[in-house]
């Protein structure tokens, strides 16, 4: 190839090589260039765009909150000592509050949750009764794993594994694994509904989520073999949801 300038002539003369070698390098380079373009091209486009300036507008929107629970009453299947039964409450929350909301639980009276006449069922499985830790949500609370056949009483926990409970809400919002266990199987931790009538925090969903969030609260019940038979009913358990 020859490029003719006014005073100079630039010449490219290809050095003759065996045919195989000539084909390898152009194909390799084009392939490598294509690979790099596909892998990093979008990043470099963003990188180049990042220098553009922007203007921010601000406005204050008052907070609103919507909270509902799936049912006003939960029932356990007939209970045989040593074989725990479970019941689950589903909580749905939507709020535009920038710092989200928190969920608390309490029972209406200072007597035990489940009773039948003068007979009662313990509110302290494994000896624990829930009081929210005062430290951050990563701190452990008064809760323990449930040992089948050994742990007795009425316990509750918040589900920590992600699953959709409808309307885009997740069961996990603000459920601390330090409080309720790293998983929902053998590591799941339970505690009793507090003996205090003061509501105790069980989840802190401290961010805005446009699609709504929620929690699933699981109650587990087992009794000792000498528990008096009969139908046990509860003092009302209240879920409270307030803006952070």
């Amino acid at each position: 190839m020859k490029v003719d300038f006014k005073k100079f002539v630039v010449k490219f003369d290809k050095v003759s090589k065996p045919e195989r070698e000539e084909k390898f390098w152009p194909v390799f380079m084009v392939s490598l260039a294509l690979f790099l373009m596909v892998s990093f091209g979008s990043d470099f486009i963003d990188f180049a765009r990042a220098a553009t300036s922007s203007v921010a507008l601000s406005v204050t929107v008052s907070s609103t909150l919507s909270f509902s629970v799936d049912s006003g009453s939960k029932g356990f299947a007939a209970l045989t000592a040593g074989t725990p039964q479970q019941a689950t409450s589903m909580l749905y929350v939507t709020t535009n509050n920038a710092t989200g909301y928190y969920t608390s639980i309490n029972r209406a009276s200072t007597t035990v949750t489940l009773s039948s006449g003068s007979e009662t069922i313990s509110d302290a499985p494994s000896g624990y009764n829930w009081t929210a830790p005062t430290a951050t949500s990563t701190a452990t609370g008064p809760s323990a794993t449930w040992t089948y056949g050994t742990t007795k009483g009425l316990g509750f926990r918040v589900v920590v594994s992600a699953s959709d409970i409808g309307s885009g809400a997740s069961t996990t919002c603000g459920a601390a694994t330090g409080w309720w266990g790293a998983t929902d199987d053998g590591a799941a931790k339970f505690s009793g509904v507090s003996t205090s009538t003061s509501a105790q925090k069980i989840a802190d969903c401290n961010f805005y989520n446009s699609g709504g969030t929620g929690q699933a609260v699981v109650f587990r019940l087992d009794v000792p073999v000498n528990q008096a038979g009969g139908t046990y009913t509860s003092s009302p358990i209240t879920y409270t949801v307030l803006a952070n």
Partner: protein, 318 residues
């Protein structure tokens, strides 16, 4: 025959009535129940001897008619933490519960029905300056059954009485990523201790600058309520950072209107964009290979044209 017919009609009417009421009972007991409330949080400043007239919009968000139980309780902060308790009335001095006037009479609310609930907060002339906290609660009535459950929400009232009060705070444990290698959101956290006598919603900014002082981002710190003597861990996120390379400083400043910055803290972090660096390295390798290939396979010559004044020819080979 006629008597039997009347008896049959009576039984039929009784059965329909029972079924209808039974269905209603079933709905109350097992249906979805809850509220939508506006406002969910109310931050107000009311002077001594003055009053505040407000209104709460409460909507039945469940799928059955409900009876609503209103209540007002004090919020009692737990020292050194973000925790607190609700109490029907905090012990000792007069509290916000004493000043909130609202009807506590239970009322019915139909499905999707909205009720405007007026309330008044009257501040005594001899009230001390500072903050008071309360929640105006609304709860569904308990449905009964084996495990009876009710839903409760409310409007959090954060009241400040102006005067001689202390609005101070401390930032501790300001933390962030030590090393950044991609463009994922960067989260900064800090603990804010309210050392004043009024509640705090620590608002401010985290300014990220490069080692050369170039401002990279101004991250807003949203207001989280921290009650007096309380502590709260607050998070601010830089949602989509630029590609960062080098050493960066994050300067956190919490401010109060009219007082400027009342608490500041700095942290340093390092960044190396992994993918762009690999990309750049790949490009350099390709350029070297191209140069090597060209050098090996092509002869590049620049020749000066012959002119009238020049008879010779100079060649320059690369």
């Amino acid at each position: 025959m006629k008597k039997n017919l009347i008896f049959l009609v009576f039984i039929l009417i009784f059965a329909i009535f029972t079924l209808a009421n039974g269905r209603e009972f079933f709905n109350v007991a097992f249906a979805n129940q809850g509220f939508t409330i506006f406002p969910a949080k109310l931050s107000i400043e009311v002077g001594k001897g003055s009053q505040y007239n407000g209104e709460i919009n409460l909507t039945n968000a469940g799928d059955s008619d409900i009876v609503v139980l209103p209540d007002v309780q004090d919020i009692l902060p737990t020292s050194g933490s973000s925790g607190f308790n609700y109490l029907p009335k905090a012990p000792g001095i007069t509290t916000l519960v004493d000043w909130v006037q609202i009807s506590k009479k239970p009322f019915a609310l139909g499905i999707n029905e909205t009720k405007k609930i007026p309330f008044t907060i009257k501040i005594p002339a001899d009230a001390s300056a500072g903050s008071r906290f309360a929640v105006i609660f609304f709860a569904t009535g308990a449905a009964g059954g084996q495990l009876s459950v009710s839903a409760r929400t409310g409007t959090v009232v954060l009241l400040t009485i102006p005067g001689d009060f202390k609005q101070t705070g401390e930032i501790t444990n300001f933390r962030g990523p030590g090393f950044v290698r991609d463009r994922n959101p960067i989260a900064f956290k800090f603990d804010f201790n309210n050392t004043g006598t009024v509640y705090f919603e620590p608002k401010g900014t985290i300014e990220v600058t490069s080692i050369f002082g170039k401002k990279m981002a101004n991250i807003e710190v949203a207001g989280n309520v921290v009650l007096p003597t309380g502590m709260r861990t607050i998070e601010a996120v830089w949602p989509k950072p630029l590609w960062l390379l080098g050493i960066y400083k994050a300067h956190l400043a919490i401010n109060v209107t009219g007082k400027g910055d009342i608490a500041t803290k700095n942290l340093t972090f390092y960044a190396l964009p992994l993918y762009p660096s690999l990309g750049a390295l790949g490009i350099v390798i390709v350029l070297i290979m191209i140069a090597f290939y060209v050098k090996k396979n092509f002869k590049f010559t620049i020749a000066k044209k012959k002119s009238k004044s020049t008879s010779g020819q100079k060649d320059k080979s690369l």
